[in-house]
Symmetry: C2
Subunit: 338 residues, 2 copies
């Protein structure tokens, strides 16, 4: 590829490779005239240092892995945009992987990353993840790891989430205020940390209200769109259907729209819904969807900022074991009634 290497430059300049290297790195031991000559030639030949030689020597890759459960999801796209915005400034590169919500894939991806290929990992765990051996391995190897959204509490590192408990609570109360008497909660999977928090908010809100509640109102959904639609349709067909639904993730809200269409029920007349979602077009659905949207871009930026500090400044302590909570925003729309 690029035949212009440091040895070639050295030859052209009548200097030693080491001198060229030091000149390019602006070392104090090199005289200004020499530096100027070196830099000039490097620019003229468009010299680009070989990243692998450098990584090998320095034991760092200037690369960060981002692992997400799915790509077709605005939320994750926005988070990555946020991460990239910051890391780009520092000359870092992003390896992006999707687990497709599959733990086995997650394990495999992680195993590829334990050989120094990346300097750090930013991830949102798959909904299937129960056994966290692979995550512990990462931690034990000393690779900085940051979790976001779907975090793994057991690993002592920094995690970023939104105020899920609070919003689960608020969302539920919002439906209660709108006079809903029977509120269901759609859960993607019990393993997801944020699902749990949102559920906890819902449960507490239900408990505090004087409304009835049954365990079976917490609906465990799957990854498969079709299954979810028929599952939701099933209980919407029932005489004892809910008149309020809290969807813990966007795709369940969408499934509910399809189910509503199938069952010919009218939203918000027959039932109201609120969903956690970062869709841009929530305002174009029929009816428009009341959402709780997460500050995805900001979250990505903060993750990256923290990482960059850790990776680029000398003598940084390990990432603190703490959870940073960013506030979400509720947008009232038609699906919860006017």
């Amino acid at each position: 590829m690029s035949e212009v290497n440091i040895k070639y430059l050295a030859e052209k300049l009548g200097l030693a490779p080491s001198t060229v290297s030091r000149a390019l790195n602006d070392s104090y031991e090199i005289s200004q005239p020499t530096k100027d000559r070196v830099v000039a030639l490097a620019k003229a030949l468009n010299y680009q240092p070989n990243p692998f030689a450098r990584s090998l020597r320095e034991q760092k890759s200037k690369t960060i892995a981002v692992i997400i459960p799915e790509r077709i999801n605005n939320y994750f796209s926005q988070v990555i945009d946020g991460i990239e915005e910051i890391t780009q400034e520092y000359g870092y590169h992003l390896l992006v992987y999707s687990t497709h919500e599959n733990v086995e894939t997650e394990r495999k991806i992680i195993s590829y990353l334990l050989n120094g290929r990346v300097d750090a990992i930013v991830m949102s765990v798959s909904s299937q993840t129960k056994n966290i051996d692979h995550l512990e391995t990462v931690y034990n190897k000393g690779v900085p790891i940051i979790f976001f959204d779907r975090i793994c509490k057991e690993i002592p590192t920094t995690k970023f989430i939104t105020n899920d408990y609070e919003n689960g609570y608020k969302a539920t109360n919002l439906l209660i205020e709108k006079d809903c008497k029977k509120i269901y909660f759609l859960l993607l999977s019990k393993e997801i940390s944020i699902g749990k928090e949102r559920l906890r908010g819902y449960l507490d809100a239900m408990k505090e209200s004087s409304l009835p509640f049954e365990e079976s109102w917490v609906i465990q959904c799957s990854q498969k769109e079709e299954e979810n639609i028929s599952l939701i349709s099933k209980f919407l067909y029932g005489m004892d259907r809910p008149d309020g639904i809290v969807a813990s993730v966007e795709k369940l809200a969408i499934a509910t729209y399809y189910a509503a269409r199938e069952t010919k029920l009218n939203m918000p007349k027959d039932f109201k819904m609120i969903s956690f979602s970062n869709m841009r077009i929530a305002g174009l659905l029929q009816p428009t969807l009341t959402t709780i949207s997460q500050p995805a871009l900001k979250l990505g930026m903060e993750c990256a900022q923290l990482l960059m500090k850790k990776l680029t400044k000398p003598n940084q302590p390990p990432l603190e074991d703490k959870i940073i909570v960013l506030p979400s925003q509720i947008s009232m729309r038609e699906s919860t009634g006017k």
Copy 2:
């Protein structure tokens, strides 16, 4: 990080590093018993070869760059999913970059990749891209590059697109069949190759019909959502507003929905619309949107397949200079009338 290297293994086994390397690579010069011992220990210690040492030596990175204009777009997410599905099997990694439709960013990203960091580039050029020096540099350096969707015709390499001309033509005729008399075309930017093709299809369909046509019906939109909405609203307010709209990209269709709401016009009664789009929820909009959706996943997979062949098989010729066309699919929905 990982202290288990080939030298360490060699020591433990009482062998030379070269022997260990050969054993792990299943060289014919190593006896079976020795191979077994080496492989066993490597597995036991969970030995992972250092990717940089290997890349440095072999002059290849097993990494591919994917450059897209924006992340928050299902189409691109699906393409990347497709690419990843194939490249993962071959042990390749994906560096993903977004240009945010900015040529300067595009240039910068490309410049980072010319030092051997990646073995190939798969990209969709930004809508601003006119000057293609940076793309020519890539080509001249011998880095395999594949374009998709928004291609750069001037570079002699393989490009993947969908049958944009044909679909622009079909979409327009579809509106004509639905009795539209005045059909506008929403264009994102004249620089985008696919925009041009879709436009050409529209123009030809208009020409062939007996309908009137004016140059000003091709609306040049920008990247800014707000600007587009007010631009579209403006002509929708006019007395001589269109009764049919072909949106060349998804975001313009969305802007049109907002504009329709603002101007209190009814779709499909007052005007009909068809859009190129890969939205999953086109069927949930009000009215549901008739779309031409591209085979994004498949496109990604075919790109990757071609690349993998080029990169993993010996003595491959350069990527052929040709355009591969994949068929899109039209989904009729309410926005074009029943």
